[in-house]
């Protein structure tokens, strides 16, 4: 067994020794803050039109600062492609709003059309994002099919409703698998061997942890609430203000409980799934992926990022984005299985062969955000 494996490895790449590299992220919160705030000023001044340029600058910043084996990733989309996509989405949104407000029958029709367009939009968005991503001069690609996307993103979620959402972790598994296994690099698809059981485990861990956190916090809140009630019983405090304060503080307390439970659940679920997904993926014969994201670190990151964004009225957003990018990059390792100097951009070669223009009619950004 061992022997045959080494044999085949030496046969295909006689001189190449596989080597592993960590992904590095070199962006800084301060630098991205400057870029972000200038983007916002220009977006506000142009009533939103500059947002397309802003998106390109933001993506270029994050891609360019992500390095693997000494080479940077590139984001290739042009602002005009983004702008076209946004105008299209805006027109559809206006028509849809108009329909639902004034001609409900057409509104329902619009929802149906959108529903049946969803698989196509998902494919289109992935295709665009992948083709606009480049590493070492080779672009990524995405080859999805409408039928499969229809099953994974429409049929299965609907079916999960009838199983009281018991099917949902399996549906998420299928979604991740669909989105990742159709990505290609140098004409090689990624093979994804994820297990449904891991998704159920992740969901269960997230639920249990969120439940425990919520119970502990509610117990604490209950103790605090007794004190508050005693205060209101006190005749001198028995006025309107106290009633209002009690009402508002109960609301705030519930929000805090919800927030902490939510952060814990998100952190646990996302960590487990990301690690499992990357560890089960391989760009066949080219690269193997590994992710060792730490559950506690990532949960704390989600938690502190949200707090920072909320209490800084949004100003901590760039810092939070950079922190996340750094932690996720550092938790990712890539093992090169063949010489990365020998790959080809199949997309570009096809284009020159057929003399096609790079931007076809639908090469616009339909991805949301």
């Amino acid at each position: 067994m061992d022997l045959s494996q080494t044999d085949s490895a030496t046969n295909t790449t006689p001189q190449f020794q596989p080597y592993s590299r960590r992904v590095e992220f070199s962006g800084s919160g301060k630098e991205f803050f400057s870029i972000w705030i200038v983007n916002i000023v220009l977006t506000l001044l142009t009533l939103g039109i500059y947002s397309a340029w802003a998106k390109v600058r933001t993506y270029r910043y994050f891609y360019g600062h992500t390095q693997l084996d000494g080479h940077r990733f590139d984001y290739l989309a042009t602002p005009i492609q983004i702008l076209k996509g946004r105008i299209l989405a805006f027109i559809f949104f206006v028509i849809y709003m108009f329909c639902t407000q004034f001609v409900p029958v057409l509104g329902i029709l619009a929802i149906f059309i959108l529903l049946f367009l969803t698989p196509w939009i998902i494919n289109q968005g992935m295709r665009f994002n992948m083709r606009m991503s480049r590493y070492r001069n080779v672009r990524f690609n995405f080859k999805g099919s409408y039928g499969e996307a229809f099953v994974v993103f429409l049929l299965l979620p609907v079916a999960s409703v009838f199983t009281l959402y018991l099917l949902l972790p399996y549906v998420f598994k299928r979604m991740d698998q669909y989105l990742h296994s159709h990505i290609e690099f140098s004409d090689t698809p990624i093979s994804v061997n994820t297990k449904g059981g891991e998704y159920y485990l992740a969901a269960l861990m997230a639920y249990v942890a969120a439940g425990i956190v919520a119970v502990i916090m509610l117990a604490l809140a209950g103790a605090f609430g007794f004190g508050l009630e005693a205060m209101i019983q006190d005749p001198e405090m028995m006025n309107d203000q106290a009633g209002a304060i009690a009402g508002v503080s109960i609301m705030v307390m519930m929000m805090i409980v919800y927030f902490v439970a939510f952060a814990v659940a998100t952190g646990i679920y996302q960590t487990h799934i990301r690690n499992h997904l990357l560890n089960s993926s391989e760009l066949q014969g080219i690269a193997d992926f590994k992710s060792d994201l730490k559950m506690i670190d990532y949960t704390l990151l989600v938690f502190t990022n949200t707090l920072a964004i909320v209490f800084s009225l949004g100003l901590a957003y760039p810092w939070a984005k950079v922190r996340s990018a750094r932690m996720l990059s550092n938790a990712t390792e890539v093992t090169f299985l063949c010489d990365p100097q020998t790959l080809h951009d199949q997309l570009g070669e096809q284009q020159s062969a057929f003399g096609e223009e790079a931007a076809d009619m639908f090469d616009i950004d339909l991805s949301l955000g």
């Binding site: 000023v41 270029r60 940077r72 001069n137 209002a244 304060i245 508002v248 952060a263 989600v302 080809h344």
Partner: protein, 341 residues
């Protein structure tokens, strides 16, 4: 100019460590790329990539090959004035601080001035048929969820209709197409509301608590006519749509809880506008009352009756709840009615 970096061939992952020489005469530029001492290739044309703080700027050549400098701070003589300006602003501490302040001011102008003003314009310029269709839909939805056929007897209905018609005829600038409907609404209780096309709904519960006070009932109806007059409903809808789109463009992808908080903030702003609209409708009702020759205190009586019907102490409000409420405090509204009377 001599720069080290990676040289990539077109459509290939193959990269070479190179040194690039850029020479500029008065008439032409020339790029020569060396691997060690060996001249790999030379070009007399190049295009530079987009410039961004903290990232190297690539050169792209006619055959599709690229040069990426190792140094992130190196800049080419061909940089555009706009790129240079942006990068200077981004690197300048005072300028960045200026941008923070400018974005706060601009966001304030946008959310509190520009969006409300354009929402009002949009609401006003919608064709009547569209406004009517929207109102019919809203009423149909309300009928389905909350409203039941009226239980008021014929005499009472006729009495209120006469009150309504005789006074609308006397108003100088009444909105067109005003229609009054009666509904029983056990879940809503004593209330009245207006639809954008001029349909006003009065609940049986409100008609009953004000059955001995025609002027107070008139005050409530005038308040609703005020909403129609100023197109408040449509303006508020257009405004909240505009605000959500703007927030989405500013933050792009907020996740989870941060998104909820920002959404809540935006909703609180909407409540503020809603309270301003209520005040405007109150003022309209008070002015019309005076013009029709009634005492403004009739409005205060209506408010007191409403507060009682909903089991509120008039002092109970005027606290923290004000910021969460879509209506001004009853006490404030009553005070206003007594002012300058």
């Amino acid at each position: 100019m001599q720069v080290t970096g990676f040289y990539y061939l077109n459509n290939q992952s193959h990269s070479t460590e190179v040194t690039l020489w850029l020479t500029q005469d008065s008439s032409c530029e020339q790029v020569r790329i060396y691997s060690g001492d060996e001249l790999l290739v030379q070009f007399d044309q190049y295009r530079q990539g987009q410039q961004l703080s903290g990232l190297p700027v690539e050169l792209v050549f006619i055959d599709g090959s690229r040069f990426v400098p190792h140094s992130a701070s190196h800049r080419w003589p061909s940089e555009s004035a706009w790129d240079r300006l942006l990068e200077r602003i981004e690197k300048h501490k005072t300028a960045v601080l200026g941008c923070v302040i400018a974005s706060a001011v601009l966001a304030w102008l946008l959310f509190f001035k520009f969006i409300p003003a354009s929402a009002a314009v949009v609401a006003r310029s919608l064709p009547d048929s569209v406004v009517h269709a929207a109102s019919e839909q809203t009423l149909a939805a309300l009928e389905y969820v909350y409203l039941e056929p009226t239980n008021l007897d014929e005499a009472q209905q006729t009495h209120i209709r006469t009150l309504w018609q005789s006074h609308i005829a006397k108003m100088d600038q009444a909105p067109e197409h005003l229609v009054l409907h009666f509904y029983s609404a056990p879940e809503i209780g004593a209330n009245a509301f207006a639809l954008p096309d001029g349909q006003v709904v009065l609940t049986d519960e409100l008609a009953l608590i004000l059955k001995d006070n025609d002027t107070a009932l008139l005050a409530v109806l005038l308040h609703e006519i005020g909403h129609v007059q100023y197109q408040h409903g449509l303006t508020l809808a257009a405004q909240s749509a505009g605000s959500s789109v703007t927030l989405a463009l500013m933050f792009g992808d907020l996740e989870g809880f941060a998104e909820i908080i920002m959404g809540t903030g935006s909703a609180l702003i909407q409540q503020q506008f809603s309270r301003d609209m209520e005040r405007q409708a109150d003022t309209f009702a008070l002015e019309q009352l005076s013009q029709l020759g009634y005492h403004r205190s009739a409005f205060a009586e209506a408010m007191q009756a409403l507060a009682q019907a909903h089991g509120m102490d008039e002092k109970e409000q005027g606290t923290l709840w004000d910021y969460l409420s879509s209506h001004p405090a009853i006490s404030e509204r009553i005070e206003n009615a007594h002012k300058t009377d």
